[in-house]
Protein backbone atom coordinates (compact mmCIF):
# COMPACT_ATOMS: atom_id res chain seq x y z
CA UNK A 1 0.00 0.00 0.00
CA UNK A 2 1.41 3.38 -0.92
CA UNK A 3 2.09 5.60 2.12
CA UNK A 4 0.10 8.49 0.68
CA UNK A 5 -3.06 6.37 0.84
CA UNK A 6 -3.46 7.03 4.57
CA UNK A 7 -5.36 10.18 5.38
CA UNK A 8 -8.67 11.79 6.09
CA UNK A 9 -9.81 12.08 2.51
CA UNK A 10 -8.73 10.65 -0.77
CA UNK A 11 -4.99 11.04 -1.01
CA UNK A 12 -3.08 12.87 -3.67
CA UNK A 13 -5.63 15.47 -4.69
CA UNK A 14 -4.33 16.86 -7.93
CA UNK A 15 -3.48 20.55 -7.79
CA UNK A 16 -6.43 22.76 -8.70
CA UNK A 17 -5.77 25.39 -11.34
CA UNK A 18 -5.23 28.76 -9.61
CA UNK A 19 -8.52 30.60 -9.16
CA UNK A 20 -8.60 34.20 -10.35
CA UNK A 21 -8.83 36.86 -7.63
CA UNK A 22 -12.35 37.59 -6.44
CA UNK A 23 -12.77 41.03 -8.05
CA UNK A 24 -11.79 39.46 -11.35
CA UNK A 25 -14.27 36.65 -10.76
CA UNK A 26 -17.11 39.08 -9.99
CA UNK A 27 -16.40 41.10 -13.12
CA UNK A 28 -16.17 37.87 -15.11
CA UNK A 29 -19.53 36.72 -13.73
CA UNK A 30 -21.38 39.85 -14.84
CA UNK A 31 -23.74 39.04 -17.66
CA UNK A 32 -24.52 41.96 -19.98
CA UNK A 33 -27.86 40.41 -20.90
CA UNK A 34 -29.00 40.79 -17.29
CA UNK A 35 -28.84 44.58 -17.65
CA UNK A 36 -31.04 44.95 -20.70
CA UNK A 37 -34.38 44.74 -18.94
CA UNK A 38 -33.47 47.00 -15.96
CA UNK A 39 -32.07 49.60 -18.39
CA UNK A 40 -35.27 49.41 -20.39
CA UNK A 41 -37.32 50.04 -17.28
CA UNK A 42 -35.07 52.97 -16.38
CA UNK A 43 -35.53 54.47 -19.83
CA UNK A 44 -39.29 54.02 -19.66
CA UNK A 45 -39.36 55.63 -16.22
CA UNK A 46 -37.30 58.60 -17.43
CA UNK A 47 -39.59 58.94 -20.42
CA UNK A 48 -42.67 58.93 -18.21
CA UNK A 49 -41.09 61.63 -16.07
CA UNK A 50 -39.99 63.81 -18.99
CA UNK A 51 -43.38 63.67 -20.71
CA UNK A 52 -45.23 63.98 -17.40
CA UNK A 53 -47.32 60.92 -17.95
CA UNK A 54 -48.04 61.08 -14.23
CA UNK A 55 -47.86 64.18 -12.02
CA UNK A 56 -44.25 64.67 -10.96
CA UNK A 57 -45.20 64.52 -7.28
CA UNK A 58 -46.31 60.96 -7.83
CA UNK A 59 -43.47 59.93 -10.13
CA UNK A 60 -40.19 61.68 -9.37
CA UNK A 61 -37.23 61.35 -11.70
CA UNK A 62 -34.54 58.68 -11.29
CA UNK A 63 -31.92 61.31 -10.41
CA UNK A 64 -34.25 62.74 -7.75
CA UNK A 65 -34.48 59.33 -6.18
CA UNK A 66 -30.69 58.95 -6.35
CA UNK A 67 -30.22 62.29 -4.59
CA UNK A 68 -32.69 61.29 -1.93
CA UNK A 69 -30.76 58.09 -1.36
CA UNK A 70 -27.63 60.24 -1.08
CA UNK A 71 -29.26 62.37 1.63
CA UNK A 72 -30.41 59.25 3.35
CA UNK A 73 -26.88 57.89 3.45
CA UNK A 74 -25.05 61.11 4.37
CA UNK A 75 -26.70 64.25 5.86
CA UNK A 76 -23.86 66.40 4.48
CA UNK A 77 -25.21 65.67 1.02
CA UNK A 78 -28.63 66.98 2.00
CA UNK A 79 -29.99 69.85 0.00
CA UNK A 80 -30.58 72.04 2.96
CA UNK A 81 -34.14 70.96 3.67
CA UNK A 82 -34.11 69.30 7.05
CA UNK A 83 -35.77 65.94 6.88
CA UNK A 84 -36.35 63.18 9.38
CA UNK A 85 -34.55 60.55 7.35
CA UNK A 86 -31.23 62.18 6.46
CA UNK A 87 -28.22 60.22 7.59
CA UNK A 88 -30.15 57.30 9.04
CA UNK A 89 -29.39 54.90 6.20
CA UNK A 90 -26.72 52.87 7.99
CA UNK A 91 -28.92 52.32 11.01
CA UNK A 92 -31.89 51.45 8.82
CA UNK A 93 -29.85 49.03 6.74
CA UNK A 94 -28.37 47.29 9.77
CA UNK A 95 -31.74 47.09 11.49
CA UNK A 96 -33.55 45.72 8.46
CA UNK A 97 -30.79 43.25 7.61
CA UNK A 98 -30.67 42.11 11.22
CA UNK A 99 -34.41 41.47 11.39
CA UNK A 100 -34.63 39.81 8.00
CA UNK A 101 -31.51 37.67 8.22
CA UNK A 102 -31.62 36.62 11.87
CA UNK A 103 -35.29 35.79 11.38
CA UNK A 104 -34.46 33.88 8.24
CA UNK A 105 -31.68 31.86 9.83
CA UNK A 106 -33.77 30.89 12.86
CA UNK A 107 -36.88 30.13 10.81
CA UNK A 108 -34.98 28.14 8.21
CA UNK A 109 -33.03 26.17 10.82
CA UNK A 110 -36.25 25.25 12.60
CA UNK A 111 -37.86 24.30 9.29
CA UNK A 112 -34.97 22.05 8.33
CA UNK A 113 -34.94 20.35 11.72
CA UNK A 114 -38.67 19.75 11.92
CA UNK A 115 -39.06 19.10 8.19
CA UNK A 116 -36.42 16.38 8.20
CA UNK A 117 -38.03 14.77 11.21
CA UNK A 118 -41.54 14.88 9.72
CA UNK A 119 -40.33 13.65 6.33
CA UNK A 120 -38.45 10.79 7.94
CA UNK A 121 -40.77 9.60 10.69
CA UNK A 122 -44.38 8.70 10.08
CA UNK A 123 -45.15 9.30 13.77
CA UNK A 124 -43.66 12.79 13.69
CA UNK A 125 -45.66 13.46 10.55
CA UNK A 126 -48.90 12.39 12.21
CA UNK A 127 -48.13 14.54 15.23
CA UNK A 128 -46.88 17.78 13.62
CA UNK A 129 -48.01 17.93 10.06
CA UNK A 130 -51.77 18.46 10.47
CA UNK A 131 -51.17 21.50 12.68
CA UNK A 132 -48.64 22.98 10.28
CA UNK A 133 -50.99 22.41 7.36
CA UNK A 134 -53.74 24.15 9.29
CA UNK A 135 -51.56 27.21 9.87
CA UNK A 136 -50.22 27.34 6.34
CA UNK A 137 -53.26 28.65 4.43
CA UNK A 138 -53.64 31.47 6.97
CA UNK A 139 -52.05 34.58 5.44
CA UNK A 140 -48.90 35.10 7.45
CA UNK A 141 -49.45 38.83 7.37
CA UNK A 142 -52.59 38.27 9.42
CA UNK A 143 -50.35 37.42 12.34
CA UNK A 144 -49.05 40.98 12.68
CA UNK A 145 -51.77 42.26 15.04
CA UNK A 146 -51.33 39.17 17.14
CA UNK A 147 -47.55 39.68 17.22
CA UNK A 148 -47.89 43.33 18.23
CA UNK A 149 -50.28 42.53 21.04
CA UNK A 150 -47.96 39.77 22.23
CA UNK A 151 -44.55 41.39 21.81
CA UNK A 152 -45.39 45.08 21.61
CA UNK A 153 -43.88 47.55 19.14
CA UNK A 154 -40.46 45.92 19.27
CA UNK A 155 -37.93 43.99 17.26
CA UNK A 156 -39.39 40.83 18.75
CA UNK A 157 -42.64 41.37 16.85
CA UNK A 158 -40.76 41.68 13.57
CA UNK A 159 -38.56 38.68 14.32
CA UNK A 160 -41.55 36.59 15.29
CA UNK A 161 -43.33 37.37 12.03
CA UNK A 162 -40.25 36.68 9.92
CA UNK A 163 -39.37 33.44 11.70
CA UNK A 164 -42.92 32.17 11.43
CA UNK A 165 -43.27 33.02 7.74
CA UNK A 166 -39.89 31.67 6.73
CA UNK A 167 -40.50 28.51 8.70
CA UNK A 168 -43.71 27.67 6.84
CA UNK A 169 -42.16 28.47 3.48
CA UNK A 170 -39.08 26.30 3.98
CA UNK A 171 -40.74 23.48 5.91
CA UNK A 172 -42.86 22.28 2.98
CA UNK A 173 -39.82 22.04 0.72
CA UNK A 174 -37.78 20.16 3.30
CA UNK A 175 -40.51 17.58 3.88
CA UNK A 176 -40.93 17.10 0.12
CA UNK A 177 -37.18 16.75 -0.37
CA UNK A 178 -36.79 14.19 2.39
CA UNK A 179 -39.72 12.13 1.15
CA UNK A 180 -38.45 12.06 -2.41
CA UNK A 181 -34.96 10.77 -1.60
CA UNK A 182 -34.54 7.64 -3.70
CA UNK A 183 -35.27 4.29 -2.08
CA UNK A 184 -32.28 2.73 -3.79
CA UNK A 185 -29.83 5.12 -2.13
CA UNK A 186 -31.26 4.21 1.25
CA UNK A 187 -31.07 0.53 0.42
CA UNK A 188 -27.46 0.89 -0.69
CA UNK A 189 -26.56 2.64 2.55
CA UNK A 190 -28.37 0.08 4.71
CA UNK A 191 -26.73 -2.80 2.86
CA UNK A 192 -23.33 -1.20 3.48
CA UNK A 193 -24.05 -1.20 7.21
CA UNK A 194 -25.44 2.27 7.90
CA UNK A 195 -27.75 2.54 10.91
CA UNK A 196 -31.05 4.41 10.38
CA UNK A 197 -29.45 7.48 11.95
CA UNK A 198 -26.49 7.25 9.57
CA UNK A 199 -28.83 6.81 6.62
CA UNK A 200 -30.60 9.98 7.72
CA UNK A 201 -27.42 12.06 8.04
CA UNK A 202 -25.34 10.67 5.23
CA UNK A 203 -27.96 9.90 2.59
CA UNK A 204 -31.34 11.49 3.25
CA UNK A 205 -30.04 14.92 4.16
CA UNK A 206 -27.67 15.32 1.19
CA UNK A 207 -30.26 13.69 -1.07
CA UNK A 208 -32.89 16.21 0.00
CA UNK A 209 -30.56 19.18 -0.37
CA UNK A 210 -31.77 20.26 -3.85
CA UNK A 211 -35.30 20.72 -2.50
CA UNK A 212 -34.07 22.31 0.71
CA UNK A 213 -32.07 24.76 -1.34
CA UNK A 214 -35.18 25.72 -3.31
CA UNK A 215 -36.98 26.28 -0.01
CA UNK A 216 -34.20 28.51 1.31
CA UNK A 217 -34.39 30.71 -1.76
CA UNK A 218 -38.13 31.16 -1.37
CA UNK A 219 -37.63 31.69 2.35
CA UNK A 220 -35.05 34.46 2.11
CA UNK A 221 -37.25 36.51 -0.21
CA UNK A 222 -40.13 35.99 2.15
CA UNK A 223 -38.00 37.13 5.08
CA UNK A 224 -37.58 40.57 3.49
CA UNK A 225 -41.27 40.80 2.66
CA UNK A 226 -42.42 40.11 6.19
CA UNK A 227 -39.68 42.25 7.70
CA UNK A 228 -40.99 45.24 5.71
CA UNK A 229 -44.51 44.64 6.86
CA UNK A 230 -43.38 44.46 10.48
CA UNK A 231 -41.31 47.63 10.14
CA UNK A 232 -44.21 49.56 8.66
CA UNK A 233 -46.29 49.03 11.75
CA UNK A 234 -44.29 47.66 14.63
CA UNK A 235 -40.74 49.06 14.48
CA UNK A 236 -39.54 52.66 14.23
CA UNK A 237 -36.53 52.26 11.98
CA UNK A 238 -35.44 50.27 8.98
CA UNK A 239 -36.25 50.38 5.29
CA UNK A 240 -39.91 49.55 5.80
CA UNK A 241 -40.34 52.34 8.36
CA UNK A 242 -38.71 54.93 6.07
CA UNK A 243 -40.77 53.74 3.14
CA UNK A 244 -44.02 54.06 5.04
CA UNK A 245 -43.16 57.51 6.40
CA UNK A 246 -42.31 58.55 2.84
CA UNK A 247 -45.77 57.46 1.81
CA UNK A 248 -47.41 59.31 4.69
CA UNK A 249 -45.60 62.55 3.75
CA UNK A 250 -46.31 61.96 0.06
CA UNK A 251 -42.58 61.83 -0.69
CA UNK A 252 -42.51 59.38 -3.56
CA UNK A 253 -38.75 59.85 -3.96
CA UNK A 254 -38.30 58.35 -0.51
CA UNK A 255 -40.75 55.53 -1.24
CA UNK A 256 -38.92 54.65 -4.43
CA UNK A 257 -35.52 54.95 -2.72
CA UNK A 258 -36.67 52.56 0.00
CA UNK A 259 -38.00 50.11 -2.58
CA UNK A 260 -34.70 50.25 -4.43
CA UNK A 261 -32.75 49.49 -1.25
CA UNK A 262 -35.02 46.55 -0.47
CA UNK A 263 -34.53 45.22 -3.98
CA UNK A 264 -30.76 45.47 -3.69
CA UNK A 265 -30.58 43.86 -0.26
CA UNK A 266 -32.99 41.10 -1.20
CA UNK A 267 -31.06 40.44 -4.37
CA UNK A 268 -27.74 40.26 -2.52
CA UNK A 269 -29.02 37.84 0.11
CA UNK A 270 -30.47 35.64 -2.62
CA UNK A 271 -27.10 35.69 -4.44
CA UNK A 272 -25.37 34.49 -1.28
CA UNK A 273 -27.71 31.50 -1.11
CA UNK A 274 -27.25 30.76 -4.80
CA UNK A 275 -23.46 30.87 -4.40
CA UNK A 276 -23.60 28.45 -1.48
CA UNK A 277 -25.95 26.26 -3.50
CA UNK A 278 -23.59 26.20 -6.45
CA UNK A 279 -20.85 24.89 -4.20
CA UNK A 280 -22.83 22.46 -2.09
CA UNK A 281 -24.86 21.09 -4.99
CA UNK A 282 -22.04 20.54 -7.46
CA UNK A 283 -23.17 16.91 -7.72
CA UNK A 284 -26.77 17.74 -8.58
CA UNK A 285 -25.55 20.14 -11.23
CA UNK A 286 -23.31 17.41 -12.67
CA UNK A 287 -26.29 15.09 -12.68
CA UNK A 288 -28.55 17.56 -14.42
CA UNK A 289 -25.82 18.84 -16.72
CA UNK A 290 -26.92 22.32 -15.77
CA UNK A 291 -25.89 25.19 -13.53
CA UNK A 292 -27.92 26.80 -10.80
Amino acid sequence: MPPEAVGQSAPGLSAQPARPSWPARIVGAIDPLAFVLPLGILVAWTGMYVFEVMPRVLLPSPWDVLRTIGEWINPDWARGRPAYFTGTWLNDALGSAYRALVGFVIGAAAAVALGVWVGWSRTAERFFDPTVQLLRPMPRTALLPFAIIFFGLTNASALFLVIYGVFLQVYVQVVTGVKLVGRDWKRAAAMLGASPRQVLWRVVLPGALPHIFGGLRLGVAYAWTLMILAEMFAVSGGFGYILWRGYEFMRMDIVLGGMLMLGIFGFLSDRVIVLIGRRKLAWAQDMAGNRL
Binding site: A10, R187, A188, A189, M191, L192, W283
Partner: protein, 257 residues
Protein backbone atom coordinates in the same frame (compact mmCIF):
# COMPACT_ATOMS: atom_id res chain seq x y z
CA UNK B 1 -23.35 -29.65 3.93
CA UNK B 2 -25.67 -27.11 5.53
CA UNK B 3 -26.75 -24.20 3.44
CA UNK B 4 -25.86 -20.61 4.30
CA UNK B 5 -29.10 -19.38 2.76
CA UNK B 6 -32.23 -21.48 2.60
CA UNK B 7 -35.35 -20.48 0.70
CA UNK B 8 -38.47 -22.63 0.76
CA UNK B 9 -41.63 -22.07 -1.25
CA UNK B 10 -40.80 -18.44 -1.88
CA UNK B 11 -43.51 -16.35 -3.51
CA UNK B 12 -43.39 -12.64 -4.26
CA UNK B 13 -46.47 -10.75 -5.33
CA UNK B 14 -46.46 -7.06 -6.13
CA UNK B 15 -49.63 -5.01 -5.95
CA UNK B 16 -49.60 -1.91 -8.08
CA UNK B 17 -51.14 1.40 -7.07
CA UNK B 18 -54.23 0.61 -9.16
CA UNK B 19 -54.61 -2.72 -7.37
CA UNK B 20 -53.54 -5.16 -10.08
CA UNK B 21 -51.21 -7.88 -8.82
CA UNK B 22 -48.07 -9.22 -10.47
CA UNK B 23 -46.67 -12.54 -9.39
CA UNK B 24 -42.97 -11.90 -9.76
CA UNK B 25 -41.85 -15.20 -8.29
CA UNK B 26 -43.54 -18.42 -7.27
CA UNK B 27 -42.58 -21.70 -5.65
CA UNK B 28 -38.88 -21.01 -5.38
CA UNK B 29 -36.77 -23.44 -3.33
CA UNK B 30 -33.14 -22.47 -3.21
CA UNK B 31 -30.06 -23.36 -1.15
CA UNK B 32 -26.88 -21.34 -1.21
CA UNK B 33 -23.85 -23.17 0.12
CA UNK B 34 -20.89 -21.50 1.72
CA UNK B 35 -18.11 -20.69 -0.71
CA UNK B 36 -20.21 -21.54 -3.75
CA UNK B 37 -20.85 -19.31 -6.72
CA UNK B 38 -24.48 -19.58 -7.81
CA UNK B 39 -25.45 -18.07 -11.14
CA UNK B 40 -29.00 -16.94 -11.82
CA UNK B 41 -29.80 -16.89 -15.48
CA UNK B 42 -33.10 -16.35 -17.27
CA UNK B 43 -34.96 -13.92 -19.48
CA UNK B 44 -35.82 -10.38 -18.52
CA UNK B 45 -38.61 -10.10 -15.97
CA UNK B 46 -38.32 -13.65 -14.58
CA UNK B 47 -37.71 -12.39 -11.05
CA UNK B 48 -33.94 -12.52 -10.67
CA UNK B 49 -33.69 -9.10 -9.08
CA UNK B 50 -36.72 -9.86 -6.96
CA UNK B 51 -35.06 -12.97 -5.56
CA UNK B 52 -31.88 -11.03 -4.85
CA UNK B 53 -33.85 -8.27 -3.12
CA UNK B 54 -35.45 -10.80 -0.81
CA UNK B 55 -32.13 -12.40 0.11
CA UNK B 56 -30.67 -8.92 0.68
CA UNK B 57 -33.55 -8.15 3.05
CA UNK B 58 -34.90 -5.25 1.01
CA UNK B 59 -38.20 -7.01 0.48
CA UNK B 60 -40.15 -9.62 2.41
CA UNK B 61 -41.45 -12.72 0.63
CA UNK B 62 -45.26 -12.83 0.23
CA UNK B 63 -45.14 -16.51 1.21
CA UNK B 64 -42.50 -19.09 2.09
CA UNK B 65 -39.50 -18.90 4.37
CA UNK B 66 -36.06 -17.46 3.84
CA UNK B 67 -33.27 -17.98 6.35
CA UNK B 68 -29.59 -17.09 6.57
CA UNK B 69 -27.64 -19.35 8.95
CA UNK B 70 -31.00 -20.59 10.22
CA UNK B 71 -32.31 -17.14 11.06
CA UNK B 72 -35.12 -15.43 9.17
CA UNK B 73 -34.04 -12.50 7.04
CA UNK B 74 -35.46 -9.30 8.57
CA UNK B 75 -33.65 -6.53 6.79
CA UNK B 76 -30.44 -5.48 5.07
CA UNK B 77 -27.16 -6.48 6.72
CA UNK B 78 -23.59 -5.55 5.80
CA UNK B 79 -22.65 -9.23 5.81
CA UNK B 80 -24.83 -9.50 2.70
CA UNK B 81 -23.39 -7.11 0.14
CA UNK B 82 -25.36 -6.13 -2.94
CA UNK B 83 -24.09 -4.96 -6.31
CA UNK B 84 -27.16 -3.33 -7.83
CA UNK B 85 -28.29 -3.63 -11.41
CA UNK B 86 -27.96 0.18 -11.72
CA UNK B 87 -24.74 1.48 -10.19
CA UNK B 88 -26.75 3.39 -7.58
CA UNK B 89 -23.77 5.35 -6.28
CA UNK B 90 -24.12 8.33 -3.95
CA UNK B 91 -23.73 11.20 -6.42
CA UNK B 92 -22.67 13.73 -3.76
CA UNK B 93 -19.64 11.64 -2.80
CA UNK B 94 -16.46 11.10 -4.76
CA UNK B 95 -15.41 7.67 -5.96
CA UNK B 96 -13.15 7.32 -2.93
CA UNK B 97 -15.85 8.43 -0.51
CA UNK B 98 -18.34 6.05 -2.08
CA UNK B 99 -15.92 3.16 -1.69
CA UNK B 100 -15.12 4.12 1.91
CA UNK B 101 -18.79 4.61 2.85
CA UNK B 102 -19.29 1.07 4.15
CA UNK B 103 -16.10 0.80 6.20
CA UNK B 104 -16.81 4.25 7.68
CA UNK B 105 -20.37 3.62 8.80
CA UNK B 106 -19.36 0.26 10.22
CA UNK B 107 -16.49 1.91 12.09
CA UNK B 108 -13.91 -0.41 10.57
CA UNK B 109 -10.22 0.23 11.20
CA UNK B 110 -9.22 3.01 8.86
CA UNK B 111 -5.88 1.65 7.73
CA UNK B 112 -7.19 -1.81 6.85
CA UNK B 113 -10.13 -0.34 4.97
CA UNK B 114 -8.03 2.18 3.08
CA UNK B 115 -5.54 -0.47 2.08
CA UNK B 116 -8.34 -2.65 0.73
CA UNK B 117 -10.02 0.26 -1.05
CA UNK B 118 -6.73 1.27 -2.63
CA UNK B 119 -6.06 -2.25 -3.86
CA UNK B 120 -9.56 -2.56 -5.30
CA UNK B 121 -9.44 0.83 -6.99
CA UNK B 122 -6.20 -0.13 -8.65
CA UNK B 123 -7.64 -3.48 -9.68
CA UNK B 124 -10.50 -1.84 -11.59
CA UNK B 125 -8.21 0.93 -12.85
CA UNK B 126 -10.04 3.73 -11.09
CA UNK B 127 -7.27 4.90 -8.79
CA UNK B 128 -6.66 7.99 -10.91
CA UNK B 129 -10.36 8.84 -10.76
CA UNK B 130 -10.78 8.54 -7.00
CA UNK B 131 -11.57 12.23 -6.58
CA UNK B 132 -14.19 12.33 -9.32
CA UNK B 133 -17.87 12.31 -8.57
CA UNK B 134 -20.02 9.62 -10.24
CA UNK B 135 -21.50 11.91 -12.87
CA UNK B 136 -18.03 12.84 -14.03
CA UNK B 137 -17.38 9.20 -14.94
CA UNK B 138 -18.37 7.05 -17.88
CA UNK B 139 -21.13 4.51 -17.43
CA UNK B 140 -18.68 1.61 -17.25
CA UNK B 141 -16.56 3.43 -14.68
CA UNK B 142 -19.65 3.96 -12.55
CA UNK B 143 -20.37 0.23 -12.75
CA UNK B 144 -16.86 -0.60 -11.64
CA UNK B 145 -17.07 1.90 -8.77
CA UNK B 146 -20.30 0.31 -7.61
CA UNK B 147 -18.72 -3.14 -7.71
CA UNK B 148 -15.81 -2.19 -5.50
CA UNK B 149 -17.95 -0.10 -3.16
CA UNK B 150 -19.61 -3.36 -2.21
CA UNK B 151 -16.41 -5.42 -2.24
CA UNK B 152 -14.63 -2.84 -0.06
CA UNK B 153 -17.09 -3.77 2.65
CA UNK B 154 -15.88 -7.39 2.53
CA UNK B 155 -19.28 -9.10 2.82
CA UNK B 156 -19.59 -12.84 3.45
CA UNK B 157 -22.36 -13.20 0.92
CA UNK B 158 -22.21 -11.25 -2.30
CA UNK B 159 -25.39 -10.60 -4.28
CA UNK B 160 -24.36 -9.29 -7.68
CA UNK B 161 -27.07 -8.20 -10.13
CA UNK B 162 -25.57 -8.19 -13.64
CA UNK B 163 -22.48 -6.34 -12.40
CA UNK B 164 -20.54 -6.52 -15.65
CA UNK B 165 -23.35 -5.58 -17.99
CA UNK B 166 -22.51 -2.47 -19.93
CA UNK B 167 -18.77 -3.06 -19.93
CA UNK B 168 -16.76 -3.73 -23.06
CA UNK B 169 -15.76 -7.31 -23.83
CA UNK B 170 -12.13 -6.83 -22.82
CA UNK B 171 -12.86 -5.16 -19.46
CA UNK B 172 -15.56 -7.67 -18.79
CA UNK B 173 -13.23 -10.65 -19.30
CA UNK B 174 -10.55 -9.10 -17.16
CA UNK B 175 -12.96 -8.26 -14.36
CA UNK B 176 -14.48 -11.75 -14.48
CA UNK B 177 -10.99 -13.13 -13.88
CA UNK B 178 -10.21 -10.64 -11.10
CA UNK B 179 -13.60 -11.22 -9.54
CA UNK B 180 -13.12 -14.98 -9.49
CA UNK B 181 -9.66 -14.68 -7.95
CA UNK B 182 -10.90 -12.29 -5.28
CA UNK B 183 -13.95 -14.33 -4.43
CA UNK B 184 -11.97 -17.56 -4.18
CA UNK B 185 -9.22 -15.94 -2.12
CA UNK B 186 -11.68 -14.40 0.37
CA UNK B 187 -13.97 -17.48 0.27
CA UNK B 188 -17.14 -15.53 -0.41
CA UNK B 189 -20.49 -17.06 -1.15
CA UNK B 190 -21.85 -15.49 -4.30
CA UNK B 191 -25.16 -15.13 -6.07
CA UNK B 192 -24.58 -13.65 -9.48
CA UNK B 193 -27.22 -12.66 -12.01
CA UNK B 194 -26.35 -12.57 -15.68
CA UNK B 195 -27.90 -12.76 -19.14
CA UNK B 196 -24.63 -13.86 -20.62
CA UNK B 197 -24.21 -17.61 -21.16
CA UNK B 198 -20.46 -17.49 -21.37
CA UNK B 199 -20.19 -15.48 -18.18
CA UNK B 200 -22.48 -17.93 -16.43
CA UNK B 201 -20.42 -20.92 -17.52
CA UNK B 202 -17.15 -19.23 -16.69
CA UNK B 203 -18.10 -18.31 -13.11
CA UNK B 204 -20.67 -20.84 -11.90
CA UNK B 205 -20.31 -23.66 -9.43
CA UNK B 206 -24.02 -23.95 -9.78
CA UNK B 207 -26.48 -22.69 -12.36
CA UNK B 208 -30.03 -21.75 -11.54
CA UNK B 209 -32.00 -21.43 -14.75
CA UNK B 210 -35.20 -19.44 -14.32
CA UNK B 211 -38.23 -18.98 -16.53
CA UNK B 212 -40.81 -16.18 -16.65
CA UNK B 213 -44.51 -15.44 -16.15
CA UNK B 214 -44.70 -16.23 -13.37
CA UNK B 215 -41.03 -16.32 -12.40
CA UNK B 216 -39.87 -19.71 -11.17
CA UNK B 217 -36.86 -22.00 -11.18
CA UNK B 218 -36.72 -24.17 -14.27
CA UNK B 219 -33.63 -26.19 -13.54
CA UNK B 220 -30.66 -26.27 -11.17
CA UNK B 221 -27.39 -27.55 -12.58
CA UNK B 222 -24.21 -28.35 -10.66
CA UNK B 223 -21.52 -27.42 -13.10
CA UNK B 224 -18.56 -29.77 -12.88
CA UNK B 225 -16.32 -28.06 -15.41
CA UNK B 226 -12.78 -28.05 -14.00
CA UNK B 227 -11.08 -24.73 -13.19
CA UNK B 228 -9.40 -22.69 -14.54
CA UNK B 229 -11.96 -22.79 -17.31
CA UNK B 230 -11.02 -22.40 -20.91
CA UNK B 231 -13.86 -20.74 -22.79
CA UNK B 232 -12.62 -22.27 -26.04
CA UNK B 233 -12.47 -25.87 -24.85
CA UNK B 234 -14.80 -28.57 -26.17
CA UNK B 235 -16.36 -29.17 -22.78
CA UNK B 236 -17.13 -25.47 -22.44
CA UNK B 237 -18.64 -25.37 -25.91
CA UNK B 238 -20.77 -28.38 -25.13
CA UNK B 239 -22.23 -26.56 -22.12
CA UNK B 240 -22.65 -23.40 -24.11
CA UNK B 241 -24.94 -25.20 -26.56
CA UNK B 242 -26.82 -26.96 -23.80
CA UNK B 243 -27.51 -23.81 -21.83
CA UNK B 244 -28.46 -21.93 -24.97
CA UNK B 245 -31.09 -24.53 -25.80
CA UNK B 246 -32.38 -24.46 -22.26
CA UNK B 247 -32.90 -20.70 -22.22
CA UNK B 248 -33.92 -19.85 -25.78
CA UNK B 249 -37.50 -21.25 -25.76
CA UNK B 250 -38.36 -18.96 -22.85
CA UNK B 251 -36.83 -15.95 -24.48
CA UNK B 252 -38.70 -16.58 -27.73
CA UNK B 253 -41.92 -17.17 -25.86
CA UNK B 254 -41.41 -13.94 -23.94
CA UNK B 255 -40.86 -11.98 -27.14
CA UNK B 256 -43.94 -13.32 -28.92
CA UNK B 257 -46.17 -13.12 -25.86
Amino acid sequence: MTALVEGRGLVKRYTGASGQATVALTGVDIDLHEGQITLLIGPSGCGKTTLLNMIAGFEQPSAGTLTVKGEAVRGPDPRRGVIFQDPNLFPWLTVWENVMFGPEVRGEDRRTAEARATELLRMVKLWDFRNHRPYQLSGGMRHRTAIIRTLANDPELLLADEPFTGLDEHTRRRLQGDFLTLVQRTRKTVVFVTHNIEEALFLADRLVVMSPSPGRIKQIIDLDLPRPRDILSDAFNHWRARLYNLITPDVVEEETA
